[in-house]
């Protein structure tokens, strides 16, 4: 297992450490890093005046952060061999509730105290919605033993439906003060990016350094073996969906902050994008392997590609259509390439 590091590696030379790093199943990370560097170099050479600017880097960071958090959310459930298709519905439901609390509690020109209280309550409510949504999906998957795809398809429609029912289908708005979460900067670093990094570090630690994390990887690798080694599969499953729900809620708050508006139909394509990035980052859709670093590298590669397409196709109106085509093609190609490299890996072991 790649996430259990060998403590004696620090005595070895740099090259042999790199070799053992690749041997431990991290070849994909090296591959992704190479891809990121190649795309970065190509774009820098093709459009240095637009690509290599701080402004562009910032706008890429803004775009990538919310989808990055959603990808980590879906990754946690994919590790267990399941999938949470309700991430975007959970995000929009949380955002809607947060927006409604903000607009009703904080009228324009209210005091700083009211604003702070409103913000805290809105964020808390959104996170609670995330926990509840995740727990319900997890309950259906773990206790009722529903197939994760069908259960989360159902809950995804259910949450989206609740969002529509609550709002009556109209868009909910945020307030000026909440825009900092989506649009603010700290020392020039976009605030959503900081949130993404915090989320990544915490999730990374949970997955690789806690009992729950190790249990999750074991459950994803072989549920029967996990059960017989004394793991409470149900609890691990429910926790994984709760984490996914909370992360989705965080993404929902960021989206509300960035666009200052929330609508049930927002970001319908994000589920595909999140799965694409996760698979690109070598998360195994059958469960048991994948990590945060791979996902982050894949996220950077995808964001560079997306910006690249926009730059190359800015003259035609079809940039978005071409992206839709390219993401689909890329997902299929990556799945096929991974299929062959997995085969090579298993052959080497046997």
């Amino acid at each position: 297992m790649s996430h259990i590091e060998n403590t004696e590696t620090h005595n070895q030379s740099l090259i042999s450490r790199l070799q053992s790093f690749i041997k431990n199943g991290n070849g994909n990370i090296v591959r992704l890093l190479t891809a990121v560097i190649v795309i970065f170099t190509l774009l820098s050479m093709a459009r240095p005046e637009t690509f290599l600017t701080i402004r562009n880097m910032q706008s890429m960071a803004f775009q990538a952060s919310e989808i990055g958090i959603l990808t980590i959310a879906i990754m946690v459930t994919m590790l267990s061999g399941g999938i949470d298709l309700a991430i975007v519905s959970t995000a929009s439901l949380s955002g809607i509730i947060a927006g409604m609390i903000l607009t009703s509690m904080v009228p324009p020109e209210s005091s700083a105290g009211t604003v702070a209280l409103g913000l805290v309550l809105a964020i808390l409510a959104a996170l609670i919605i995330g926990v509840v949504c995740g727990a319900f999906s997890g309950y259906l998957v773990a206790v009722w033993e529903m197939p994760a795809i069908l259960a989360t398809l159902g809950t995804s429609l259910l949450y989206k439906g609740l969002g529509t029912a609550i709002t009556g289908g109209v868009t909910v708005f945020g307030i000026t003060e909440s825009q900092f979460i989506g649009n603010g900067e700290v020392l020039g670093i976009p605030f959503p990016l900081i949130l993404l990094l915090i989320v990544s570090i915490i999730t990374g630690i949970i997955l690789s350094r806690t009992r729950f994390g190790i249990n999750l990887y074991m459950l994803g690798t072989n549920p029967t073996a996990a059960r017989f080694s004394g793991i409470d599969n149900r609890r691990v499953l429910i926790y994984s969906y709760i984490i996914s729900g909370v992360l989705s809620a965080i993404a929902g708050i960021i989206i509300l902050g960035r666009t200052n508006a929330m609508n049930v139909d927002f970001g319908a394509s994000y589920v595909l994008l999140a799965i694409l990035i996760a698979v690109l980052g070598d998360v195994d859709p059958y469960g048991g392997s994948g990590n945060v670093i791979g996902v982050l590298l894949a996220l950077v590669a995808m964001q560079f590609l997306s910006t690249g397409f926009n730059m190359l196709l800015y003259k035609s109106s079809g940039a978005n259509f071409f992206k839709e085509f390219a993401w689909g093609a890329l997902l299929i190609i990556v799945l096929i390439v991974n299929h062959f490299s997995d085969k090579r890996r298993t052959m080497r072991i046997s």
């Binding site: 259960a151 429609l157 259910l158 029912a165 079809g318 839709e324 085509f325 299929h339």
Partner: protein
């Protein structure tokens, strides 16, 4: 006899359907008017044709979300070709071209899934985006309105068997209903009486065992996804004809409703289950939920909640049934039930 019925999933769905219909009909008698029934059948026909493809994919243990992409690609590309060549022939050619395009795209799905043994949900999510993106970028993104459509399609849209005069004008049963009846019969026959149908169920029940029992999994998957593609192509053309326009942005996004119908009707990706009757009942139920709950005074915003609830209900009923059976068996053996 009654106990046997009780074990059937279709029985539950039929009961729910009858109760809901009677309730709506009692509150608002307009529900049972011929005009409303025909309009419900019209919507149900479109969903029904797609649902037959979804059904066999679910029975084989997969899930296909790309069928709406295939449908819109086939229909829109066909119409584009025909309009460009100023087509004047009969309605059969559009259906043949659209069906063939669907078949090809479905086979692409089948090859990717079958040859590389990849997860069906993720592959078809990818191809959905691939097909729709390819159509919008390479074929076009402008829509054809009624005036621009080939004559044959316009005439087909007006066709009607069984015309009835009502106060609000003429209404009738559209011939596409018979296309659905025909396709439904074929799928039912194949599932029930042929070795091919057995291989779908065997694969969905346990892939490994099916392979060892001698079923050719790759061939079966090519047939399943190819057939689902063909149905999507035909379904797409029907959508174009009935709505009298070729809108490249339509259909995609409705795939969940159709999957919901099949799941509600008892199809499951987990256990190699599902039947034509159940699926068609599910289609009618979802159609009523989407079109007629308004007659009950339920606001249309709640539609999605209800469809989501139906998916969960459809998935939960068999789970509860199997839990009950497990408990009973455990009690008979006088043992503690094995839960997790």
């Amino acid at each position: 006899m009654f106990r046997q019925l009780f074990r059937k999933h279709e029985f539950f769905i039929a009961i729910i359907l009858i109760v809901i219909s009677l309730t709506i009909g009692l509150i608002n008698p307009r529900f049972f008017s011929l005009a409303n029934v025909f309009s419900l059948l019209r919507s149900a026909t479109i969903m029904g044709i797609f649902s037959m493809g979804v059904l066999i994919v679910l029975i084989s243990g997969g899930i296909d979300v790309s069928f709406t992409g295939i449908a819109i690609f086939s229909m829109y590309t066909t119409v584009s070709i025909l309009v460009a060549r100023d087509f004047q022939g009969s309605i059969f050619l559009p259906f043949i071209i659209s069906g063939l395009l669907g078949l090809i795209l479905g086979l692409i799905n089948g090859v990717i899934i079958g040859v590389f043994k990849l997860p069906t949900l993720i592959v078809t999510l990818g191809t959905l985006s691939l097909y729709r993106g390819a159509m919008l970028f390479f074929v076009g993104s402008n829509y054809y309105n009624q005036a621009e459509l080939p004559v044959a399609i316009k005439e087909f849209a007006r066709a009607s068997v069984f015309t009835v005069e009502t106060s609000s004008g003429k209404t009738g049963l559209h011939p596409t209903f018979f296309i659905l009846a025909f396709l439904g019969f074929i799928v039912w026959y194949v599932l029930k009486y042929t070795m091919l149908g057995r291989s779908f169920y065997a694969m969905g029940g346990d892939r490994e065992s099916a392979e060892r029992a001698g079923f050719n999994i790759l061939r079966t998957q090519l047939i399943i996804y190819g057939f689902a593609g063909l149905l999507s192509g035909i379904g797409g053309m029907i959508v174009g004809a009935l709505f009298r326009q070729a809108n490249p942005f339509s259909i995609v996004g409705t795939e969940l409703d159709i999957i919901a119908a099949a799941v509600l009707g008892g199809a499951s990706i987990a256990g190699g289950r599902g039947s034509v009757i159940g699926t068609l009942l599910g289609v009618v139920l979802i159609t009523i939920a989407k079109n007629s709950l308004v007659l009950l005074g339920i606001p249309s915003e709640w539609q999605r909640v209800i469809v989501g609830f139906f998916i969960l209900l459809g998935t939960a009923i068999p789970m509860v049934q199997s839990l009950v059976v497990q408990r009973r068996l455990a009690m008979q053996r006088d043992e503690i039930p094995v839960t997790s």
